[in-house]
């Protein structure tokens, strides 16, 4: 997805200036270029890992930093014993419940505020006011209100994801080109059609940005929610590991957090590629 702004599009000037190159050869060249690119990107990661391994083996990183090999071994143990899967399952369920509640609320509020003036007047001011409060500060209150069980954890995640989605749905809808709405109306499209054919597709790119932000907030909320009073979940895993000074297991859980974030980001990107296929017209014909 990253494009080097300063470089001209790969291949374009060369083939424009030189003699025409057969399509098959051009494709092969493009393929080998993209392979080289992937290798170049991976090499940075490999260098970091190698330096880490060398530093840990040489004892330069102190006794509390495990080497990558030790982390992998710890991961293997946690997977084998089933501990990782069981706790991951608990955490995923919390996130899914929180997302289900929070995303629906964010979407409904955003649609209400974006589509109707009355909705905006009723919804926007209170939501904006509450948004100023960092939702993680609600942890103590939620523990008092909902106890230390699942409810307070799921609530924290739900509250966290409402706002990024709400704001992006609202602004996405308001950002739709008024002229497109007018021209669709003059084409005889009714009120419902305007919403489904013009407003929502027009707001979709922004809504998906909101979804991405919301998923990031969900993982962050999970980390915080599982830090206190937990008896299951990957947060519990990391707490246990900390108590027994098992830094290798701490690292495993950190890597799991990173992978979870990466996985959800890839998921949203895949959705974007499908749902926003019309925008690819801008890049490749």
């Amino acid at each position: 997805m990253s494009v080097d702004v300063l470089d001209p599009p790969a291949g374009a000037p060369a083939s424009a200036a030189g003699p025409p190159v057969p399509a098959a050869r051009r494709r092969a060249a493009a393929r080998s270029r993209s392979l080289a690119r992937t290798a170049r990107r991976l090499s940075g990661l490999v260098i970091v890992l190698a330096a880490w391994q060398a530093g840990a083996s040489a004892g330069l990183l102190g006794s509390t930093t495990p080497s990558p090999a030790q982390v992998v071994a710890a991961a293997g143990r946690l997977v084998e014993s089933g501990e990782l899967a069981a706790n991951l399952g608990v955490s995923l369920l919390r996130v899914l419940k929180g997302l289900a509640i929070g995303l629906s609320a964010g979407l409904v509020l955003g649609l209400a505020a974006g589509l109707a003036r009355l909705g905006e007047d009723l919804v926007d001011a209170p939501v904006q006011a509450v948004r100023m409060l960092p939702h993680l500060a609600l942890v103590p209150l939620f523990i008092i209100w909902f106890g230390i069980g699942e409810t307070s954890k799921v609530s924290l995640i739900a509250v966290g994801v409402v706002f990024p989605l709400y704001i992006n749905v609202f602004h996405g809808i308001r950002g739709v080109d008024e002229r497109l709405v007018e021209s669709a109306r003059s084409c005889g499209v009714g009120r419902f059609g305007l919403i489904t054919k013009v407003v929502l597709p027009g707001a979709l790119p922004q809504i998906l940005v909101g979804l991405r932000q919301a998923l990031g907030v969900a993982w962050l909320s999970l980390v915080v929610a599982e830090q206190s009073a937990t008896s299951a979940g990957i947060g519990y895993l990391i707490n246990q590991a900390t108590q027994f000074m098992r830094t290798d297991e701490v690292f495993v859980v950190l890597v799991v957090y990173a992978l979870l974030g990466l996985a959800t980001d890839l998921l949203v990107r895949a959705v974007e590629r499908r749902a926003l296929a019309w925008r690819r017209g801008l890049v490749a014909r």
Binding site: E182, S186, V189, G193, W278, R279, L282
Partner: protein
């Protein structure tokens, strides 16, 4: 008050103001069925306001509007929905069977049959404008409203698009109101040119020239001079 006429346009006392500024001041306008009328005027003279009122896009316009049932508007920007395929844009808001076939038929008329499945963002400016024309055509309008439809095109593409509009008009004969600031465009296409100034139709010029029209025809040159002076452009400058 808006009345549905079966043919042509009959407007009486059309007024519209924005705040204290009166843009249209009791304008009367008739367009016969199948007549091509060009509306000229300086920037901000209210040309587009008049067109929007005829398109039914301005609920605050006052006056008696007698308009045909089927109207279509083409704007300066193509206003295609970028997230809908070209053919879906063409039949946007149209109901009935065989929508795709009707869309493709309209696209064929503007020479874009092959782009029916394309995304609008992959089209050039001229192609997008032709799709917008197809979108108007598919509605078989009795009144076609063109709001500077060629204003954003380069000179060469504009000439081709003007030719296309002339052909389509000759073929389908809707009543046309073309809003433009281009005197030559008005004289090439229209039966009648109207000048809008100070909220009123200040001048009316019948363009009685054989079609297709040549820019160097002596009558054409004379009409052009008359229109330009009506627009307040000094003859010596042109």
């Amino acid at each position: 008050m808006t009345v549905t006429l079966h043919e042509g346009v009959r407007v009486r006392g059309l007024s519209r103001s924005f705040g204290d500024r009166t843009v249209l001041d009791r304008v009367d306008l008739d367009i016969a069925p199948g007549e091509f009328v060009a509306l000229l005027g300086a920037s901000g003279s209210g040309k587009s306001t008049l067109l929007r009122a005829l398109g039914g896009l301005d609920p605050q316009a006052g006056g008696d509007l007698g308009l045909p049932d089927r109207k279509a508007v083409v704007y300066q920007e193509h206003r295609l929905l970028p997230w809908a395929r070209v053919w879906k844009n063409v039949v946007l808001g149209v109901k009935g069977p065989d929508l795709k076939a009707r869309a493709v038929a309209a696209l064929t008329e503007v020479g874009l049959k092959d782009r029916a499945e394309a995304w609008p963002l992959t089209l050039s400016g001229g192609e997008s404008q032709r799709v917008a024309l197809a979108r108007a055509l598919v509605r078989t309008p009795q009144l076609l409203l063109l709001d500077e439809p060629f204003g954003a095109l380069d000179a060469l593409t504009r000439m081709k698009a003007q030719e296309l509009v002339a052909d389509l008009w000759a073929e389908h004969r809707p009543a046309v109101l073309l809003v433009t600031h281009d005197v030559e465009e008005a004289l090439l296409l229209a039966d009648r040119a109207l000048l809008l100034a100070d909220g009123r139709l200040a001048e009316e010029i019948t363009v009685d020239l054989p079609r297709p029209r040549a820019l160097d025809h002596p009558d054409f040159v004379a009409l052009r001079r008359r229109l330009l002076s009506g627009l307040g452009v000094e003859k010596e400058n042109r």
